[in-house]
């Protein structure tokens, strides 16, 4: 029968994805970029929608929530997975509401009037069955996938609005978005890029070689020299792993220092982040926020005699508060950090913040 086969095939796919996530998160930085993770997650969700057994929107949402919880538990630091799941849940809600005939805005907005008067609407249980719902949801997810594929290009198209000629731009580590951004600007303008290598993973080296191959004049500096050269830098452009709900960042190690140095010299800090990185999390206590990898990166095993007597920390991420950020550039345009909460309410439904 096609049913069980499809189901086993589906479970296999999900298991494969989960083990990939688990493996990819340990060691020297992400082996795959966040964009690929987002695309794979969305493709998998589309498959689940297509092949799993469900009769109403509520069932589908339950299935997706269950799988989603497993996926986020496999790699908590990879927030794009959770973001995509929440996007798909919102899509389902929207499609359901459209099928029911009620306008989307009325459902979405949580005005004080609605809270007080019509409490029944928020107890929507999505039990009604609509035949075209499946097709609609799959179509919407396809649109989401197209949007994901075009994010990097959309961001790079804005490059010339932000970079003038003879500028000195500083960046840290390796971000594919920023790389595409700078290469696009380099086609028309001449500028100089300084890359901080971001020890211990030293991803800045790869970034620098890629940029210099595109003909951009690049300099690699050690992390310790960030403040020393900051006085000659005109702009700081960085990528990030996650954009938090308050407009802050969870970015690679060393970004907070870079942001503080930029603030001291009043240099604008621009973050290139596509919308799928926006996460409804707030910066939590240290133990849920930070991720550590093997201290061998920092103090290798060759330093044998002292290893047992020393504590070594190797955090991967840094928190950057929103006061230090000047501008977010995303695939839908540029925003101030204070606007992020509004974008978030458009992308995700408040009930989905906790999966």
């Amino acid at each position: 029968m096609p049913g069980p086969d499809k189901e086993t095939d589906l479970t296999e796919r999900v298991e494969a994805f989960l083990s990939d996530l688990k493996r990819g998160g340990s060691g020297a930085g992400p082996l795959r970029g966040s964009a690929e993770t987002a695309r794979e997650t969305t493709a998998l969700l589309r498959k689940i929608t297509a092949q799993a057994r469900w009769s109403s929107a509520g069932d589908l949402m339950e299935i997706i929530r269950k799988e989603g919880r497993r996926m986020t538990a496999a790699q908590p630091s990879e927030t794009t997975v959770g973001n995509m799941i929440r996007r798909v849940l919102k899509i389902i809600r929207e499609e359901y509401a459209r099928s029911r005939g009620s306008s989307e805005e009325a459902d979405q907005q949580e005005s004080l009037h609605k809270l007080l008067t019509s409490g029944g609407l928020s107890e929507e249980n999505f039990r009604q069955h609509f035949a075209p719902l499946k097709a609609n949801v799959i179509e919407a997810i396809n649109e989401l996938l197209t949007e994901l594929e075009g994010t990097t290009d959309n961001i790079s198209m804005q490059a010339l609005e932000h970079i003038h000629s003879n500028e000195v731009i500083m960046t840290i580590g390796r971000s594919r978005t920023v790389e595409a951004f700078l290469r696009d600007a380099a086609r028309k303008r001449k500028f100089h890029v300084i890359v901080a290598e971001c020890a211990p993973f030293c991803q800045g080296h790869e970034m620098a070689t890629n940029l210099s191959k595109a003909g951009i004049e690049t300099t690699v500096i050690a992390d310790a020299a960030i403040f020393a050269v900051m006085s000659r830098v005109n702009k700081v452009i960085i990528g990030t792993q996650t954009v938090l709900a308050n407009g802050g960042l969870r970015a690679v190690n060393g970004t907070h220092t870079l942001a503080l140095a930029a603030k001291h010299h009043s240099t604008p800090l621009i973050v290139c982040a596509p919308m799928f990185k926006l996460s409804p999390q707030f910066p939590n206590e240290e133990d849920t926020f930070h991720k550590f990898v093997s201290p061998h990166e920092v103090l290798p095993f060759t330093e044998g005699e002292i290893l047992s007597k020393v504590n070594v920390h190797c955090p991967v991420f840094d928190y950057v508060p929103p006061e230090l950020i000047t501008l977010f550039i995303s695939n839908i345009g540029g925003h101030a950090p204070s606007y992020i909460y509004r974008l978030m309410s458009e992308l995700y439904h408040p009930e989905d913040h906790e999966l």
Partner: protein, 546 residues
């Protein structure tokens, strides 16, 4: 005004004297000076008033013998000074105080004599040299304009408006300077070290050498010009075997002691002058191996001063003994005892339960922490380190061996670890006269982040590292290390291996950076705990003492 008339007269006399001294002097200069002399009288009047005030002060402190002595010195001095300075501006300057000094034969120099002894010594020495030269040329001039010269010298010495010559190592982009340097090195028979690799455009005024091409490869063995102890020292510097400003200074002074022990005065030469000339090529050689640090510069100044102060009647053995003793005294007093004093003051700042953050490997800070441990303070240390030098590992080893509990992170993790920290102790390479702290690259970053987290930053520095330079950023005067140090192999991949073949790619390996004084809360020296802005005060006090 009779004053201006007298001044004009003496100006004319002095100018004519000048003209006689230099055949090249054109007559036009004198006409010009005479004309300018009229114009300048108003300015000169202001100066006259100033001089009169000084005169009044000097009359309070009278020293007859000093006056006579200074009178003789200034005569010699002025005759010497008049010889090489034919410019009209300076003559106008000298001519100014002429009418004042004539009625008052005692020069105001005795007033400033006690604090001015160093200046007077300098003037005396120069006078002796120039007098020998000038005596062949000049006739016996008027005491008037010569007294005037002394007056102006005293006046200018107070503010010392000397424009120092720019050091060569920050003028690499100027081809004339490079040519001069090449000629000087050729004369001293020292090989010239070539720059290596593509230099980032912001730093094209600095040298960038490769560690794989030490200077000693180009020297012949045995080297006749350079003492072997100095050759060894130069190699240790350029390979990074001896690093850290205290270590480098002590090694330098020990090498100098060896040089002095092996030195013999050639016949018909004075030890005080010949030894100084012997040291010059050594210093150039060491400078080529690795640019001298501020502490080394101060140590060399001290040694040269001691050498030139050896009286000529002194026997060679005695002179050598004296010099060796002076050098040992310097090391003991300025470095070792200073470290003890600083440790004692710093231990008051360390309380039980403290979490102290240190950066890199500073011998002074390590010493302080070990002393604090001896005094049974309970604290733990966080060592922050940075690529590519990774000096923090050395500090970590030393502290762990003494039994201090340590944590180790890289500098990119400093904003993660700072919420735990209660104090930051930093070492310094030099303290500049405008209050900036010059130290290993990364120090300013740590101070910045500590300030953002409201953690106090304490800098520990001996006074012999105080330097009269001023600097506001880390670009104008810095050191560029070997750029190949930044290359690293991870997961079997070396991305930057062929960086030289990709023309727009540059690697920057800075050695020093400057920390602004608003990031530093306290500087602990052997003279006490001072704020960063008191550095010029300490320098002034030191100059007066010497």
């Amino acid at each position: 005004m009779c004053n201006s008339f007298a001044f004009y007269h003496f100006a004319a006399v002095f100018l004519s004297l000048n003209y006689l001294l230099h055949g090249n002097e054109k007559k036009g200069d004198i006409e010009r000076a005479k004309n300018e002399g009229k114009e300048l009288t108003k300015e000169e009047k202001q100066r006259l008033r100033k001089e009169k005030k000084q005169q009044k002060k000097s009359k309070e402190k009278k020293d007859d013998k000093a006056i006579q002595e200074s009178g003789k010195e200034t005569k010699g001095d002025s005759s010497a000074v008049s010889a090489p300075q034919p410019s009209t501006q300076s003559t106008a300057q000298k001519a100014v105080p002429a009418p004042v000094s004539v009625p008052a034969p005692e020069a105001p120099t005795p007033a400033e004599k006690p604090p001015k002894s160093k200046a007077e010594l300098k003037a005396e020495r120069r006078a002796r040299q120039e007098a020998e030269r000038a005596s062949k040329q000049s006739k016996k001039g008027d005491p008037g304009p010569q007294g005037a010269v002394s007056k102006s010298k005293a006046a200018t010495n107070e503010l010392q408006p000397v424009v120092k010559r720019l050091p060569e190592h920050i003028q690499v982009d100027n081809p004339d300077v490079l040519k001069k340097l090449a000629k000087k090195l050729e004369r001293q028979q020292i090989p010239l070290r070539l720059d290596y690799g593509y230099k980032v455009s912001l730093f094209s005024h600095l040298h960038q050498y490769s560690r794989k091409a030490p200077l000693t490869q180009q020297l012949s063995i045995p080297s006749t010009v350079i003492h072997p102890a100095i050759v060894r020292l130069g190699l240790q510097y350029s390979q990074g075997i001896v690093a850290g400003s205290n270590a480098r200074s002590i090694a330098l002074l020990h090498a100098f002691k060896q040089v002095i022990r092996d030195y013999t005065t050639p016949p018909n030469e004075e030890l005080s002058r010949d030894l100084v000339n012997r040291l010059k090529p050594y210093i150039s050689f060491l400078n080529q191996c690795r640019p001298l640090s501020a502490s080394m510069g101060n140590a060399i100044k001290y040694v040269k001063k001691e050498i030139s102060n050896i009286p000529s009647q002194c026997k060679e053995e005695e002179a050598k003994r004296k010099l060796l003793f002076c050098i040992e005294w310097y090391i003991k007093e300025k470095i070792i005892l200073a470290a003890k004093a600083i440790a004692e003051s710093s231990i008051e700042k360390i309380s039980d339960g403290d979490v102290i953050l240190i950066y890199g490997c500073s011998s002074l800070v390590n010493h302080i922490l070990c002393e604090a441990l001896e005094k049974n303070r309970k604290f733990r240390v966080i060592v922050v380190d940075s690529r590519p030098r990774l000096e923090g590992r050395e500090a970590l080893r030393r502290l762990v061996q003494r039994g201090i509990s340590c944590t180790y992170v890289l500098i990119s993790a400093v904003s993660y670890i700072l919420p735990e920290v209660s104090k930051v102790f930093l070492g310094a390479h030099a303290l500049l006269a405008n209050g900036y702290v010059m130290s290993r690259v990364g120090t300013s970053q740590i101070a910045l982040v500590a300030k953002a987290f409201n953690v106090p930053v304490l800098v520990c520095c001996e006074t012999y590292k105080f330097c009269e330079r001023v600097q506001t950023d880390s670009f104008v005067s810095n050191e560029l290390d070997d750029p190949d140090d930044l290359i690293v192999t991870r997961n079997g991949q070396t991305h930057l291996e062929h960086w030289q073949q990709e023309p727009p790619l540059g690697l920057l390996n800075l050695v020093y950076d400057v920390t602004p004084p608003d990031f530093v809360d306290l500087v602990i020296t052997e003279l006490g705990m001072i704020p960063c802005t008191s550095v010029p005060v300490v320098l002034r006090v030191k100059n007066v003492d010497q």
